[in-house]
Symmetry: C2
Subunit: 541 residues, 2 copies
């Protein structure tokens, strides 16, 4: 047995059966092992941010990690942004990264970085990083990588595997590793939270990671019903059980100004499986925190703890009955007509999306309307594509979710600017014949930046400023791009056209892309921000 075989056995013995891959020369020994075996389904992706994003989407739906196969430091680097998204969403991924032979690294061949080692780069977006130094380590490190990925709500493990560790002989011994323990929240912490819930103050329970899945929401709903607390969801949920019959939660808004309004009434927040709510960006003269200073924030469990056990313990501590807080009701809006807006897209999606679909959301500014419109859809799993706010994960997550859940319809609501980042995912979706309907929400701009520019500019934006934010010269023809990678596609301009095409997509299996040319008016958001800016300026003077 050689090191590559030992590693491959360790990964498959630990239950991994799916590999998203973009291999190179240094990974050929693993390609060879995988190619000889029936134990793993390899999915080739044409750029590494598709590889890592697909592994993210897969794990969110499969509840276990896939492993990635990445080519040396630069290949890993190409996949960092979506590993960052997965890591911030506490989604488990096991990365296997080839590297130069241990003895060849000091010769500084082309793939070696000029200023540091890949271990340092990998460590920035991995909870656990190791570089094998001999073939004998390959099996045990592979098993450890899986074990470490399963801690808490999920983690990123990265094993760097130099080529000589692949081809050198390795011991035959089984390499099972006991699961790494996930910490239970202490009884005193549970009791404190229970006391807070009984103190009569206006309380929000801010849920994240596994607390937002069906089982978590059921328990949280019982706690809320018995205490009068409001259930809130983190702004960027990796997976949220949603739609008809699911316990209802309020999403914390993205924009600081809206979030401040949202939190204004709360006196205390208890965070469960999430982090305290801070603004994604700081703005000059504005606070960092979304909740007011008067609102006390306490943490029941960060995502590293056993979040489900913490919720169950809390339910018991508050003596929760079987009754839950309100559930989402099915809403059947009128079939939308006329101008194609984000809201109209949302209405058609809400009307037509089948039960137990997966809704992947990277719709950016259009998402505010889309999210509102789809709360009354049939029961579904909602995956916010980018928990780490790094754009370009929607199409990869859709690919991975479809590979994990071939029985579910996957609907990807994808903004155009973000979608271009990883358009290569279309090819893998076509190749794997995934049942994915992609809706490109096309506004020909990085529209959010028009909002953000309003915060810093004096006067109107110049043509040159807009040239750095707008995508309309030339306009991108997503139908052509999609067909170029093997996915049939149509372009629509009215609510009626969209409804018809989306209806057909829902009625069939297999990949389909709809370019939805939407009309969008973000002026109300800009106005809100400018009003607050003016108010601050007046206060200061």
């Amino acid at each position: 047995m050689n090191g590559a075989q030992a590693l491959f056995n360790a990964l498959t013995n630990a239950g991994l059966d799916t590999c998203f891959a973009n291999p190179g020369t240094s990974e050929m020994q693993l390609v060879y092992e995988m190619g000889k075996s029936d134990a793993v389904r390899p999915v080739l992706c044409l750029q590494e941010n598709v590889v890592t994003g697909a592994a993210d989407g897969y794990a969110r739906m499969a509840n276990k990690p896939a492993f990635t196969l990445l080519h040396v430091g630069s290949g890993f680097a190409n996949g960092i942004a979506n590993l960052h998204n997965a890591g911030r969403g506490n989604v488990p991924i096991v990365n296997i990264v080839g590297a130069n032979a241990t003895y060849h690294q000091p010769n500084f061949p082309e793939h070696e970085f000029i200023g540091g080692k890949i271990t340092e780069v990998a460590g920035a977006v991995s909870h656990w990083t190791r570089e094998a130094r001999s073939a004998a380590e390959m099996g045990i490190l592979g098993a450890e990588a899986v074990s470490q990925a399963m801690i808490g709500s999920g983690r990123i493990s990265t094993l760097i595997a130099p080529t000589d560790c692949h081809w050198d002989p390795a011991p035959d011994a089984p390499q099972a590793v006991a699961p790494a323990p996930t910490s239970r929240v202490a009884g005193s912490t549970i009791a404190s939270a229970a006391a807070l819930l009984n103190n009569g103050r206006k309380t929000g329970i801010l849920l994240g990671t596994h607390a937002l899945r069906e089982e978590g929401l059921e328990i949280a709903g019982r706690i809320a019903a018995s205490t009068g607390a409001q259930l809130l969801a983190e702004t960027f949920p990796a997976r949220l059980a949603r739609g008809e019959g699911r316990v209802e939660v309020q999403l914390v808004p993205y924009f600081l100004e809206m979030a401040q309004f949202f939190f204004a009434e709360y006196e205390q927040i208890i965070v469960v499986g999430a982090l305290p709510p801070v603004s994604t960006f700081a703005y000059e003269g504005s606070p960092s925190h979304k909740a007011p200073p008067s609102c006390e924030i306490s943490s029941l469990a960060t995502p590293d703890f056993d979040v489900m056990a913490a919720l169950a313990d809390l339910a018991e501590a508050v003596g929760a009955s079987d009754e839950t807080s309100p559930r989402c009701q099915r809403v059947e809006p009128d079939q939308p007509q006329g101008v194609l807006t984000a809201a109209a897209v949302g209405q058609s999606v809400s009307l037509l999306m089948p039960e137990d679909a997966v809704l992947v959301d990277e719709s950016a500014t259009a998402g505010m309307d889309l999210f509102q419109q789809t709360v009354g859809a049939r029961r579904h799993e909602y995956l916010y594509a980018i928990p780490g706010a790094a754009i370009g994960n929607g199409l990869p997550v859709a690919l991975g979710a479809a590979v994990a859940s071939p029985e579910r319809k996957v609907v990807a609501l994808q903004a155009d600017g973000s979608g271009m980042y990883t358009n290569q995912a279309l090819w893998s979706i076509a190749r794997e014949e995934c049942d994915v309907t992609i809706v490109i929400i096309k506004n020909d701009a990085y529209a959010v930046l028009n909002v953000e520019l309003a915060r810093v500019r004096e006067g109107e934006p110049t043509e040159k400023m807009l040239s750095m934010l707008e995508l309309d010269r030339p306009t991108i023809d997503w139908v052509s791009i999609s067909k170029g990678m093997g996915i049939p596609a149509v372009s629509v301009n009215t609510a009626e056209e969209f409804h018809l095409e989306f209806e057909q997509a829902m009625a069939q299996k297999g990949p389909m892309l709809i370019e939805a040319n939407i009309a969008q008016d973000l002026q109300p958001v800009v106005d809100l921000i400018l009003q607050q800016k003016a108010a601050r300026a007046e206060q200061e003077s």
Copy 2:
């Protein structure tokens, strides 16, 4: 004045006038400054590896850096692979990367990495990395970043700029920084090299970085003519002056087995502006070095030294006359006919490419033939896209080279698998109306990996192995993709069709893409490798 203005002034005062950008919220203040000014041309790119690769191509032709504008850690990460290429090619780039406000970083908002800071990630592919800690530092750090990028043959500078350092007040003082000195090679080292050149042994002068530009080759040619040494070029030259009238150099082959054959006759190698020639990858049972152990390698100047001065000093030390070693002769092959091979593409390119064109090469396995066929082309600049061997830089480099050299025709020979990595560059090429002819060398595979798999497999490859190397299910329609991003495109299948389309592309200005469906036979390379493998196995038994 605020920090963003101080930084912008520092960059423009240092002579920078081009910015490749993909900004986000934390860079809006710089978008605003750039948008108010005439001093800088911003070029929007739809993914950061296009941004950094375009900055690479720009600097290779402009002989000064562009600056990039990148959005926080994940945006920087997306651009790492091509920064790695530029860094390994010693091409100057100045990166400006937005970051969370200094006081907001500890709140761990979404863009903060899990386990490390962006400074460590940036440091892996930058020669110089700083994070501003106050607005007062922005100007001086901007000036230093440019100065540091200009050391030696060129370096990567990265300045991380938190948002509060943009909006806080900054001093008005001018921020000029003296150029950082580039080390001269010591006289004793020159004398040693001169002595080697006179010892009567079979000698190769292995040239890299600026030694391969026109001025460098002229001096090297005089040294070669007076000493009988052979001029060699590093395998992956960032820029090589080539074609009719240029001093001829022999490129060191990529594949180890071919390189060993190439170096077999040499007794000593003197390296100038390059590194000693090692194999890109180590292989089981094979040496790391391309030259035999009996061949002595000495370094006259690494790329950090003043390479041109070293060459001039060496020419004087050996008493070189004005006579040079042989120059490339114009070769006008017959117009190719029939099956479209890489060689046929090369012949048409050689026949038709106008004088002073820029030939960007990321043709991968097809490059062996293409490089041979274009040595007799008209005078041109040859840019090997990926000095760091990280695929996906050809289209970005073509974009950047065209922005730097609007008077030159740019021809990009681009392999299909690598081209997909950064296909987004097509949009910027269309938008900037670049005079670029892109030839997609389409073989529907990561063909090099078929060669590399042969090294490790026993028996024939399985379907499953090939599924990780081949791109033919579905085949990629580059014409559709290209049109989708605004570049007219055609697909050709014969040598005659290619010749006709390429001829038309050379006769017009503006972007054009030709999908060249080539027939390729790599079996001779596989056979060579398998022969050597068998010979090693026999030796061992």
